[in-house]
Symmetry: C2
Subunit: 197 residues, 2 copies
Amino acid sequence: MYEGPVQTLIDELGRLPGIGPKSAQRLAFHLLGTDRADAERLAQAITAAARDVHFCQRCFNVAEAEECRICRDPKRDQSVLCVVAEPKDVQAIEKTGEFRGRYHVLGGMIVPIDGITPDKLHIAELLRRMGIEDISEVVLALNPTVDGETTASYLTKQLKALEVSITRIASGLPVGGDLEYADQVTLGRAFAGRTAM
Amino acid sequence: MYEGPVQTLIDELGRLPGIGPKSAQRLAFHLLGTDRADAERLAQAITAAARDVHFCQRCFNVAEAEECRICRDPKRDQSVLCVVAEPKDVQAIEKTGEFRGRYHVLGGMIVPIDGITPDKLHIAELLRRMGIEDISEVVLALNPTVDGETTASYLTKQLKALEVSITRIASGLPVGGDLEYADQVTLGRAFAGRTAM
């Protein structure tokens, strides 16, 4: 194949998810072709992230310190906890500006067929937090997919014994969507979840 | 957005061609989530490639030394020169095992609308090689696209004055292809380029 370092770079890029051998080759030549300072900056960004980024000890969001920015923020409402699957979900919710509570990141969703059983996720830590922190509401913000439903119903069972209100984010027509083109399940959910005007 | 190094990593990954913000985020979390030794290896591969990979002084293929492996190989036929656009084309041709001559990598194709004029490519170096080296045949192995045709006809004009035979790789039906589904231009080319049985 290619001489030494080029092939190594292509192999390493090809290990990334969704990057096939052709894409890896294209990326490698981009990194070699354009300004090499770009390549050096990318290498440094990877090294710095792998070295300095940790997961928040409380909520498992990405963090530079022991706890993430949100957990450290005293202005956040400590009584409402939003449970999400991944750190990227935290970012998506933060962008809306609608939620002022705190988060708990599970680190994935329950998918038994892929070996992701509840003990692989940060569910034990969630239950521990419920015992220590003064939480009155848990909002489940999981994807409205089979995996999301499985995870949500498992969590509901686990949390039911506690004196806490469990809610989930609404599922229905997306804003700008069209009744005619909505799938049956989504439209059914939109009806079931109808609210007073 | 994300805290410090994560956002930097996402931004740097997002500068790669074909990697949008969502893919960059997915790749960043992959690098942070799985074994961090993987991330470190990728960073090292990028640094090593940017530092150690050069372009062959003779043919502009990727090389670790001043000249690439192919130019250094005394067993290659010095009288046949294959002109390609990119180093990856060299690899594609090498894989076939059909060509035992040497290469000249242009570094792209002539696309005036994108500002890629002949002086941006290694065409002057090609003409210099023609004067110094004992080359009897130049094989143009450029993509059968508009840009490839433009480049091929420009090169043909430049090389015509020299006593050298200029050939181009055949265009026609791909092996395993089907007459019925071939486009008209390809089928036309296949007829024009028919050979004796």
